[in-house]
C-alpha cells in the first residue's frame, strides 16, 4: 500500500450527482488511442482515464463495498496502468486489460483489509449503504422509489456477503455485462469454471436476497 494516495474530504467524494468538473474530451478510436498512449501522450492517458474511470470505480465499489476504498483503489489502478502501458499486449482489448489490473488490485486490497481487520468505513454498515443510495439517487418520496432504494441496498448487501471470487464474477458478468470470453481473459479461468462458479454465486445471492426480504417482512418494513 503506498502512502501516496491523495485523500479528499468526504464532501468531495459525494459529488457524483454534480456535473463533471472536467470538460469532456472527444473520444478517439481504440487503435488511435493506443498509438498515442505508446508515444506517452498525456492527453491520450487523460482520455483513457475519463473513458474508463466510471466502470473501474463501479467495479471497485462492488468488490470492496466501500466508496472511500474504491476511490483510493481506482487511483492506484490508473497509476499502475500508466506505469505498465508498455506491457499491454496489443492483440487484447484495452478494457479487458484494465479490468484484469483492477481485479488484481481489488483482490490484493481485500487481502490487506482482511489482515488489517476491515476498511475505513464499517464492514458494510448503514452509513455506507446511505452513501451508495445518495450517489445513485436517493428516493424522493413515493413508495416505488423507496422500494427501489431498499432493493438497491439489499443487492449491495447480498453482493458483499459473497466470497471474493463469486463477487468478482457477479460484478463482471451481471453488473458490468462482460462476455464470457472477456471474463475468461480477466480471471484466467476456463469458461466452464466461470459458468459453474457464477451459477453457484447467483444461487447464493438468491438465498441471501430471500433472507433479507424475510427479515424486512419480519420487521414490518
Amino acid at each position: 500500500m503506498t502512502s501516496e494516495v491523495l485523500e479528499l474530504p468526504a464532501h468531495e467524494l459525494d459529488l457524483a450527482t454534480r456535473p463533471a468538473a472536467i470538460a469532456p474530451v472527444v473520444e478517439l478510436p481504440e487503435s488511435l488511442l493506443l498509438a498515442r498512449l505508446r508515444r506517452k501522450d498525456p492527453a491520450a492517458f487523460e482520455q483513457l482515464v475519463k473513458t474508463h474511470q466510471d466502470r473501474v470505480f463501479d467495479f471497485c465499489v462492488r468488490m470492496v463495498g466501500d466508496r472511500e476504498e474504491a476511490f483510493d483503489l481506482t487511483q492506484e489502478i490508473f497509476v499502475s496502468i500508466h506505469l505498465h502501458l508498455d506491457k499491454f499486449r496489443h492483440d487484447a482489448k484495452l478494457s479487458t486489460w484494465i479490468f484484469r489490473i483492477s481485479k488484481n488490485h481489488c483482490l490484493n486490497r481485500l487481502k490487506y483489509l482482511k489482515r488489517r481487520g476491515r476498511g475505513r468505513s464499517d464492514d458494510y454498515g448503514e452509513a455506507n449503504e446511505l452513501a451508495i443510495n445518495d450517489s445513485v439517487g436517493a428516493p424522493s418520496g413515493p413508495d416505488e422509489l423507496l422500494e427501489a432504494s431498499r432493493e438497491r441496498a439489499w443487492v449491495h448487501r447480498a453482493i458483499a456477503e459473497l466470497d471474493e471470487d463469486q463477487r468478482m464474477l457477479v460484478a463482471l458478468r451481471d453488473i458490468e455485462g462482460l462476455s464470457y470470453e472477456e471474463i475468461v481473459e480477466i480471471t484466467e479461468l476456463p469458461e466452464g469454471t466461470v459458468k459453474s462458479r457464477l451459477h453457484r454465486a447467483r444461487e447464493k445471492l438468491v438465498g441471501i436476497l430471500e433472507r433479507l426480504e424475510q427479515q424486512a417482512a419480519h420487521r414490518g418494513e
Binding site: E4, L6, L8, E12, L13, D14, L15, A16, R18, P19, A20, A21, I22, P42, F45, E46, V49, K50, Q53, D54, R55, V56, F57, D58, V61, R62, R67, A70, F71, T74, Q75, F78, V79, H82, L83, I132, S135, V136, G137, E151, R152, W154, V155, H156, V170, D174, I175, G177, K195, S196, L198, H199, R202, E203, L205, V206, L209, E210
Partner: protein
C-alpha cells in the same frame, strides 16, 4: 416419466436461461417441473435486480487526482534519472588532472629525441 435433474443439468439449464439461450427441450422440462420453474423464476428475479442496479459514478475529482499523481510521478521520474546521471558523472577534480597528465605524457613522447 419425469426424472430428477442432476446438479450439472440444473446449472446448464439456469445458465442457458440467464443468457437467453434456453433450448426447446429444457423449456418443456421446466413446464413439467413447477418447483424447478419457481426456482428459476427467483434466479431470474435476482439477476434482474443485479442488472438494474444503478452504476456507481466516479467522483468528478477522481480524474484530476489521478492525472496529478501521474504527472508528479513523471516529474519525479525525470528528476530521479537526472540524479542517477549525476551520480555516475566523473567530477571535474578527476577529469582535469587526467587531461593534464595525458597532455604532459604526449608532450614528453613527442619531445623525446
Amino acid at each position: 416419466m419425469r426424472t430428477e435433474l442432476s446438479k450439472a443439468e440444473v446449472e446448464r439449464l439456469f445458465i442457458g436461461a440467464a443468457d437467453g439461450a434456453l433450448e426447446g427441450r429444457d423449456a418443456d422440462r421446466l413446464e413439467d417441473d413447477p418447483a424447478l420453474k419457481l426456482k428459476l423464476s427467483k434466479y431470474q428475479s435476482a439477476l434482474k435486480l443485479l442488472k438494474e442496479t444503478p452504476k456507481e459514478k466516479a467522483p468528478p475529482a477522481l480524474a484530476s487526482v489521478i492525472l496529478r499523481r501521474v504527472r508528479r510521478r513523471r516529474i519525479w521520474g525525470r528528476n530521479a534519472q537526472a540524479m542517477q546521471l549525476q551520480e555516475y558523472a566523473v567530477p571535474m577534480q578527476v577529469i582535469v588532472p587526467i587531461l593534464l597528465g595525458v597532455l604532459v605524457a604526449a608532450f614528453l613522447v613527442f619531445a623525446a629525441p
